[in-house]
């Protein structure tokens, strides 16, 4: 099998591997951990579009996830809507949030856009605390039901796993379609040179706004899934730290790539749960790793940006390009 066939088959193999995990893993906690990986991957797919492809930074992505999570929780618990309807509402509200942030941010670039998104994220986390009648305030929102579609309820660890990774699969498909066709080139052009993109007739405003909206939508859906999987959400989940974690995953994964950020999302999520992953790892060691988790994220950002600015995807592309040339 040569490199090219391998590359063509790689996504298929990855998907197949992802699918059989619940059949091979009997530890329910480990399955839950892999489910969390999927939720983070979903956020990161959206962020990869916005940041990795279009070059628009967002330091407030956790806010969109929170918008989705609270919307879904409120709709299902307080309004009694079916889960699927709440899920759709979560996406809509998060996408609206993206629109509301994107429009005034259009003329902001670089540092100012970063600060605006950061400010928006912090403001939203304050809002989650203050909007107590809806969100439950600091104490959070509990008693969120399991996801269900019609008569089918996703209760077991494996069904939740499949639900989440199914959503990731659809998101990847959509994202791949966007990036491989006209909008994707417009996004990458925007990233490469805004002047050049304008000279090519790229609708800069349209691309920015739409990418923001799609990205926020995916984060919102991920939030709704989290709410359903865990059954409890609180403002402390959707903070600056979470936003930076997502950014770290995206940066480590690399620009102009979906596979890289997804892999990075899975890998960096697993850092938190090393003892679930490695049987027999002493609890103390796992806790030590856990206490250095954010150090790892921070250091990963710094090192990748300095030494491998195109991330894992960039390294992989360079290697495979080298292979093909030889």
């Amino acid at each position: 099998m040569n490199a090219r066939t391998l590359r063509a088959l790689a996504p298929l193999i990855a998907v197949a591997l992802a699918l059989i995990v619940p059949l091979a893993v009997s530890d329910r906690f480990l399955l839950k951990v892999f489910t969390f990986c999927g939720i983070n991957a979903l956020v990161v797919v959206g962020l990869a579009l916005l940041f990795g492809y279009a070059g628009q930074v967002s330091l407030g992505h956790a806010a969109f996830m929170g918008l989705g999570a609270y919307t879904s929780a409120y709709c299902t618990v307080e309004l009694g809507w079916p889960w699927l309807l709440g899920f759709v509402a979560a996406g809509v509200v998060a996408a609206l949030g993206g629109l509301i942030l994107a429009i005034p941010s259009l003329r902001l670039k670089g540092y100012y856009l970063a600060m605006a998104t950061l400010g928006f994220g912090l403001l939203m986390s304050l809002a989650f605390i203050q909007a107590e009648p809806i969100t439950g305030g600091v104490d959070g929102f509990s008693g969120i039901p399991f996801p269900s579609i019609g008569p089918v309820e996703f209760r077991s660890a494996s069904s939740l796993y499949w639900l989440v990774w199914g959503a990731v699969g659809i998101a990847v498909l959509v994202a791949h379609n966007i990036t491989s066709l006209r909008p994707g080139r417009a996004m990458r052009a925007l990233h490469g040179s805004e002047l050049g993109a304008q000279a090519c007739g790229v609708d800069i405003v349209g691309v920015k706004v739409r990418t923001f909206v799609v990205s926020a939508l995916m984060a919102g859906l991920a939030g709704a899934l989290y709410a359903g999987v865990v059954g409890f959400i609180s403002p402390s989940l959707f903070t600056l730290t979470a936003s930076i974690t997502f950014i770290a995953m995206t940066i480590v994964g690399g620009t102009s790539s979906l596979a890289g950020p997804i892999l990075a999302a899975v890998a960096l999520t697993l850092v938190q749960y090393s003892d679930a992953l490695i049987p027999g790892l002493p609890r103390e060691t796992a806790q030590t790793i856990q206490s250095y988790q954010e150090d790892i994220y921070g250091l990963a950002i710094v090192l990748i940006v300095i030494f491998a600015p195109r991330g894992l995807a960039g390294l992989w592309k360079r290697r495979s390009a080298g292979n093909e040339a030889s």
Binding site: V174, N177, I178, S180, L181, R182, P183, G184, R185, A186, R188, A189, H191, G192, S193, L195, G196, A197, Q198, A199, C200, G201, V202, D203, I204, G206, R210, V214, T255, S256, R310
Partner: protein, 257 residues
């Protein structure tokens, strides 16, 4: 036939008048050069023509349509494409992909059709791909098609940017110092490309410091000095124009090789 009418265009920055009441016409099927010493206002004028900057006064009419106040992307869609003095390629994209972006100006399919991978989005994509190969072949650099822009030699970068501009299907192509940074061989190739472009029916406006190139390719020349037009006419006349000679001798002649 007049393709582009520039009338009394003025652009000020604070107390400085960068472009001062400039008017000229560009005729269809010709090559027009804008020359002048450094700081004469050539690039500012270029930006004003293409929607990247808005002149304080004056009008720019392209085939009866007023361009002042339009966004760059609208100007491109009307049929004016440009390149940049500092090439604005998309460094992480290949030469082919760069040229494909040029097709965006005339394509319509957006996010939704792409998300669902509807047939017309795929068809558009294929069309852009084929067009990019065709243009690169036309310019004679098809062997660079899969090379990332960041890895291209300077001469090829200029040509890729021209191909990208051509992919927008322009009626008028505006080139900002296309020969800057090119060696003699590359400049020869550029000249050939310019003739090929002109012969395919595309009008060209060029800002250039390389006088040899300017004299060779242009049908008419506009000379700017300190923002104002000081001469206009065919190359032979311009070479002898006392005002032009004074401007170039008075200022610093900048060959910029």
């Amino acid at each position: 036939m007049t393709l582009l009418q520039v009338r009394n265009v003025t652009r000020r920055f604070g107390g400085l008048t960068a472009v001062d009441d400039v008017s000229f016409d560009v005729y269809e099927g010709t090559v027009k050069a804008l020359i002048g010493p450094n700081g004469a206002g050539k690039s500012t004028l270029f930006n004003a023509l293409t929607g990247f900057d808005r002149p304080d006064e004056g009008s720019v009419v392209f085939e009866g349509e007023e361009l002042v106040g339009r966004k760059p992307r609208e100007v491109v869609r009307v049929g004016l494409a440009r390149t940049f003095q500092n090439t604005q390629l998309f460094e992480e994209m290949t030469a082919g992909e760069n040229v494909m972006v040029g097709s965006q100006a005339r394509q319509r399919r957006g996010f939704t059709t792409a998300m669902l991978r509807l047939p017309n989005a795929v068809a558009e994509d294929r069309e852009a791909r084929e067009d990019a190969s065709r243009l690169l072949r036309l310019i004679g650099i098809e062997e660079w098609i899969d090379v990332p822009a960041a890895d291209l030699p300077a001469g090829i970068r200029r040509l890729v940017e021209i191909a990208r501009a051509l992919a927008t299907r322009p009626r008028l192509l505006l080139l900002d110092e296309p020969a800057a940074g090119l060696n003699a061989t590359e400049t020869r190739e550029l000249v050939q490309t310019l003739f090929r472009v002109r012969d395919s029916g595309i009008t060209v406006v060029i800002v250039e410091h390389d006088m040899g190139l300017v004299m060779e390719v242009s049908d008419e020349i506009v000379v700017l000095d300190r923002g104002a037009k000081i001469a206009e006419g065919p190359p032979r006349m311009i070479q002898k124009d006392p005002a032009v000679i004074a401007a170039y001798l008075g200022g610093e002649v900048d060959d910029d090789v």
